[in-house]
């Protein structure tokens, strides 16, 4: 009812109400966007979420700490390792576990490679949203290389369950350093090629420049984080402004946009891939020998208390809030998913755009529905 009352204000201008999703090819999962259009122009949009709700946070309350890592794998199913890291950091902070150096380096290397893989997926899907078919395949080609490395290290291509509380599951294989360097070499060329293919194309610029603008202040107000926020000119990267793990040791660049439009959000991610490569290079040259896991009990019983940890996942500021009642299962786990917060700004960004732009703006904030609905 409320919806219809709101819409009646616009009723003069409305031609048509269309459902974009939950089964639309470019809503990146099962996201539903109800669009009221006047011709091709969008008058009002209303996002509907919840089609992928699995109750992950509630399930966490009935699982042991070591088992929850597998659930976090499945929140943001493109940036899995980053999600695992966020949860493990939270538990480690609660139990005051000190993670061995080598484990920290392995974590950072894998997380940054995961960020590249995630951004490559974004690149490919964004190309598809704009209507170019080839970027998809190029993006996946590069992502496949990263996943091959993951397979040789963690045993799985996506759901790794590799980063464990107190360290990592097992040491990296012997040829890890060599493989990473080869991979980085490929990735550098791959990113350049992807960049040349799409970024400078006049049609791509025409489609994305000046579309879906959000100012830095508004983005902050909406709780937008990650590349989407940096594209609006706000320098905010948890890896630097509130460093976790060993990120404070590395020297890398933070790409920052100025317009806050789709192109900036896109290009910030392309540049971020290059910066991630730099981080991995530094990490791989300093990686020390030693243990890969702290001594933790198999069934972890953290002291009573609560903890909040934020990390920079490929999509933005991933927060984990954990309440422990002293038992082997958490009392409450709350995830602050970046995609969910970024999605809130969608309605704002879609003001005064076209139907075709809705796809682009939605693509440019790079949502993962598994994370939005949890």
């Amino acid at each position: 009812m409320q919806v219809h009352q709101q819409v009646s204000e616009y009723s003069d201008a409305i031609d048509l109400m269309v459902n974009m999703g939950p089964q639309h090819p470019s809503t990146h999962g099962v996201f539903r966007l109800v669009i009221w259009v006047d011709g091709e122009r969008i008058v009002k949009v209303e996002p509907h979420i919840g089609y992928l709700h699995r109750g992950s946070e509630k399930i966490c309350e009935s699982e042991q700490y070591s088992q929850i890592v597998t659930l976090f794998d499945r929140l943001d199913y493109v940036g899995n390792l980053n999600n695992e890291l966020a949860f493990c950091l939270a538990v480690e902070k609660l139990t005051e576990t000190v993670v061995p150096e080598r484990a920290e380096y392995i974590r950072v290397i894998l997380c940054e490679l995961n960020r590249i893989a995630s951004h490559m997926l974004f690149y490919g899907v964004y190309g598809l949203d704009v209507g170019a078919t080839t970027p998809m395949l190029y993006g996946f080609r590069e992502r496949e290389r990263v996943q091959e490395l993951f397979e040789s290290v963690t045993g799985a291509r996506m759901m790794h369950n590799y980063i464990r509380i107190g360290g990592v599951k097992e040491d990296v294989p012997d040829d890890f350093d060599k493989n990473v360097l080869i991979l980085l070499d490929h990735l550098k060329r791959g990113v350049d090629e992807c960049d040349r293919l799409l970024s400078q194309n006049e049609m791509f610029l025409a489609r994305t420049k000046g579309v879906g603008i959000i100012t830095g202040e508004d983005a902050l107000d909406y709780g937008v984080t990650g590349p989407a926020l940096r594209a609006s000119g706000v320098i905010e990267d948890v890896r630097v402004t509130d460093p976790y793990s060993i990120y404070s040791r590395f020297d890398f660049g933070i790409p920052v946009g100025s317009n806050g439009d789709c192109w900036d959000r896109y290009y910030v991610r392309v540049e971020e891939m290059r910066e991630s490569i730099k981080i991995v290079e530094q990490a791989i040259s300093d990686i020390p020998d030693g243990d890969i896991s702290a001594k933790v009990r198999r069934i972890i019983r953290p002291p009573v208390g609560e903890v909040f940890v934020r990390t920079e996942s490929p999509r933005g500021d991933l927060g984990v809030f954990l309440v422990s009642d002293g038992s082997d299962k958490p009392y409450r786990v709350k995830v602050r998913p970046p995609s969910f917060a970024n999605l809130q700004a969608l309605e704002y960004m879609l003001e005064d755009t076209y139907i075709a732009d809705a796809v682009l703006v939605l693509g440019s904030i790079d949502i993962i529905m598994g994370e939005v609905d949890r």
């Binding site: 080609r141 496949e144 045993g155 799985a156 400078q200």
Partner: protein
């Protein structure tokens, strides 16, 4: 980055695509067995039970720790007294009687392998899930052992704790007692 002339942008794109046209394809033809991508040694497929070739019985003693630790509760197991042990042929007092995993539920997390004290369960290299019948993904003890044998042979698998988990009966304890 500087934004260039549109003609440069157009031509750059065309050059990228024509260059990759001349490269070899990167895809593998999946269902053909000889053309699949090679799996790395650490690849985690479905869990499988390992077979102790020394005394021809499974490593698994049915201690149920994997069943309890499994995040999705996809396993069930039952143990029995080991007849081989009574005859003095095996060190294992208990042995697995039945073991069932619903592979449709399994999330391939590898926790069962981590918690197993007897090196009895391993993540095999099986990963194909499609079956023609409903519930055909429930595998019983024999199927699990078959998968395990394939895996063991492929990787020349040896237990991680061979001393502790070998099934070969210990020498009689009299000597220790007397000393």
């Amino acid at each position: 980055m500087k934004i260039q002339n549109p003609v440069v942008g157009f031509i750059n794109g065309l050059m990228v695509t024509i260059r990759s046209t001349l490269r070899r394809p990167v895809t593998a033809e999946y269902p053909a067995i000889e053309k699949r991508l090679p799996l790395s040694n650490r690849f985690m497929g479905f869990p499988a039970l390992t077979w102790d070739y020394d005394i021809e019985e499974p490593y698994c003693t049915g201690c149920m720790v994997c069943v309890r630790e499994c995040p999705t509760q996809c396993m069930s197991a039952q143990m029995k007294d080991n007849p081989q042990h009574e005859k003095g042929l095996s060190r294992r007092r208990k042995i697995i009687e039945s073991f069932e995993i619903n592979l449709g539920r399994c999330i391939l997390c590898g926790i069962c392998v981590d918690v197993c004290n007897f090196d009895a369960i391993e993540m095999s290299h099986e990963y194909e899930l499609s079956k023609y019948q409903r519930n055909a993904n429930r595998v019983n003890l024999n199927q699990l052992l078959d998968m395990g044998v394939v895996y063991q042979n492929k990787l020349q698998w040896t237990p991680k704790q061979p001393q502790k988990n070998s099934g070969i009966p210990l020498p009689p304890k009299q000597s220790e007692d007397s000393s």
